[in-house]
């Protein structure tokens, strides 16, 4: 069976879903395909979750322009429309000796060229007022109050849900195997059937080069750069108030120390170029580098209190170090949105805005819909509510009175919501990304069996079919005694 669509977006990361959502403002057939079992499973899933202010991005590059615009759009529109957790906590770039101050000033100047507002250099006592646990050697910092942190899972899922609400189609577990250029349309072959599309938008993250090669575009290469992280328990006695960067030196860009939107402490990333586009494993070396680096900023940190290690891949075009966002001049109807590494998350609203501009040129005469609904409501968060609000919520639906995840106080109601969304969770990890059971200190030891049970009931599948993430990641292999009984029959 062949599906037809006007615009096909390949990749369900923050960039792909943002483009889908922005295009869904228009009278257009939109299909987004993602090879994973969920949206937000590639680069968007594992990163530092920052909305950079924009001082670091080179003002001569596309990054420099899109970062500041993205930050502004997050502030003025995205946060309100999509009810996504964003905290505008500000960022510090810290110099630990006087020699670093000129470098801070250079970054300040670059930031000014990018039109980052309210940048200043803070010194002395003020610095420690802002950040009491900072290394006592710190002498000065560039302070950027407009920097923020965001929950990338909730953001991406909200974008996908909003796109679907406005008419787009999202197809999961559809891996592109080949693309044929048929002139006025592209025939995109996927593991879930063929799709004919007038316009293909390649937002495939670390695989963007492979996708481009399918239509003969060979002029860029994505070199995955792995970054490893440690995430700490919320109740850690060491707190930081801002996203803290170190001054970049020739060897290293430095390790970031930042709170997350849920107030866990996050440190990382390391940086290591690798070949394998799927290798999200952690290494001893990478993790050691992360903790050693973070200790330079916050000397009291140890690995005590760590609840999670993870790794992500930056989808970098090493040769330019910049985003590549353009309609291909070689292949008509094919738009590359590639090389989206840091500050890609921060820039994502602006990237989508830019891509909409390109689509308008490719498909002239686009009309806006009258009934576009930009709003999404977040799933209720029992953990952040007052007792009174909780009471009302449970009155509405008693499933919100059943705590499934004790570490994070996540209720059954929230988990059901996560499964029943337009782009609903189908795996244990997809539920964790949306509503956090298993994201706490026990890492699912207690709630895991309950989440498996809820998924099995809701999806109407046996527990042995419930997956952690991808296809072969089933959690349970068979019923207890099944093989013993088999042995019995075999023997008889």
């Amino acid at each position: 069976m062949t599906n037809k669509t006007e615009v096909l977006i390949i990749g369900g990361g923050v960039v792909g879903t943002f483009i889908a959502r922005e295009l869904s403002r228009y009278k257009l057939d939109i299909t987004l395909i993602e090879k994973g079992t969920d949206v937000c499973v590639g680069t968007s899933k594992s990163n530092t979750a920052l909305i950079h202010a924009g001082f670091n991005a080179d003002s001569n590059k596309l990054k420099g322009k899109l970062n500041v615009r993205g930050n502004e759009l997050f502030r003025t529109k995205v946060q309100k429309e999509l009810e996504v957790p964003i905290e505008w906590i500000g960022a510090l770039v810290v110099a630990q000796d006087e020699a670093g101050i000129p470098q801070l000033e250079e970054i300040l100047e670059n930031g000014k060229r990018n039109k980052v507002p309210d940048l200043e250099i803070v010194k002395g006592e003020r610095l420690f007022e802002l950040e009491p646990n900072l290394n006592k050697n710190s002498v000065a910092a560039l302070y950027a109050p407009t920097a923020g942190i965001v929950n990338p899972f909730e953001l991406t899922v909200a974008l996908a849900n909003n796109a679907v609400k406005n008419g787009a189609e999202v197809i999961l577990e559809a891996e592109v195997t080949d693309i044929e250029d048929k002139g006025d349309y592209k025939l995109v072959k996927t593991s879930k059937g063929n799709i004919e599309a007038k316009l293909v938008i390649n937002a495939a993250g670390v695989y963007a080069d492979k996708i481009a090669q399918m239509v003969g575009i060979k002029d860029f290469k994505i070199t995955p750069r792995r970054g490893e992280y440690y995430l700490y328990d919320k109740i850690l006695d060491i707190k930081v108030n801002h996203t803290i960067f170190q001054l970049p030196n020739k060897v290293s860009k430095g390790i970031v120390v930042t709170p997350t939107d849920e107030d866990n402490l996050l440190i990382g990333p390391s940086a290591e170029e690798i070949e394998d586009k799927d290798d999200l494993s952690n290494t001893r070396e990478g993790l050691d580098q992360v903790i050693a680096g973070a200790k330079k900023t916050i000397p009291d940190l140890t690995t005590r209190g760590v609840i999670k290690e993870f790794a992500g891949l930056r989808a970098a075009i090493k040769e330019t170090g910049d985003f590549l966002i353009e309609a291909s001049d070689k292949v008509k109807g094919f738009i590359n949105v590639a090389g989206i590494q840091s500050p890609g998350l921060a820039s994502s609203p602006a990237i989508a805005e830019m891509v909409v501009g390109i689509v308008k040129e490719e498909l002239p005469g686009l009309e806006e819909k009258d009934d576009f609904d930009p709003y999404e409501q977040e799933i209720p968060k029992f953990r952040h509510m007052s007792h009174k609000q909780r009471m009302k919520l449970i009155e509405k639906d008693s499933n919100y009175g059943e705590i499934i995840c004790r570490c994070e106080s996540i209720t059954k109601g929230e988990i059901l919501d996560a499964i029943r969304q337009p782009v609903g969770a189908r795996t244990v990890n997809a539920i964790k990304r949306r509503v956090r059971p298993g994201a706490g200190r026990c890492q699912g030891g207690f709630c895991g069996p309950k989440v498996v049970e809820i998924l099995s009931e809701e999806l109407g599948i046996p527990k042995t079919e419930v997956k952690l993430e991808k296809d072969n990641s089933k959690i349970l292999v068979e019923k207890t005694k099944e093989s013993l009984q088999k042995e019995v029959t075999d023997n008889e």
């Binding site: 207890t480 005694k481 013993l484 009984q485 019995v488 023997n491």
Partner: protein, 122 residues
């Protein structure tokens, strides 16, 4: 016939490693024990090692799909795996009471398999 084996004594948490020499079905020598209980243990463990087998049995219509069970007394060690397969064949009906007999005289050992908790109906 001569046999030499090593048996770890579990009479107490000390866990002495006993070197046991057996000639013609009789224990001739026990070394490595720190107390006389070691000799007794070696004897029992050499000639007739037995274990209580705790496991589960399937239940229909209960609040859980399984009920824990055990052999009411120790059974020969060599029969543990066979007993597991016998128990795997059983499916009880809820409610189950602690002490309910799940299998009478399992594998002709003279020992019953019994439930070790109450399990209510769903």
């Amino acid at each position: 016939m001569e046999d030499k084996v090593m048996i770890t004594c579990v009479s107490c948490p000390m866990g002495c490693d006993l070197n046991v020499e057996v000639i013609d079905e009789e224990i001739k020598k026990v070394e490595g024990n720190r107390c006389p209980r070691g000799v007794e243990y070696a004897k029992a463990e050499y000639f007739n090692p037995t274990r209580v087998l705790p496991t589960t049995a399937k239940v229909k219509g209960g609040i859980l799909p399984l009920v824990p069970v055990k052999t009411a007394k120790p059974i020969p060690k060599g029969l543990l795996e066979k007993a597991m397969r016998e128990i795997a064949k059983v499916e009880l009906e809820a409610p189950v009471k602690l002490g309910d007999i799940v299998i009478k005289n399992v594998l002709d050992t003279g020992v019953d398999v019994v439930a070790t908790r109450d399990l209510a109906k769903k």
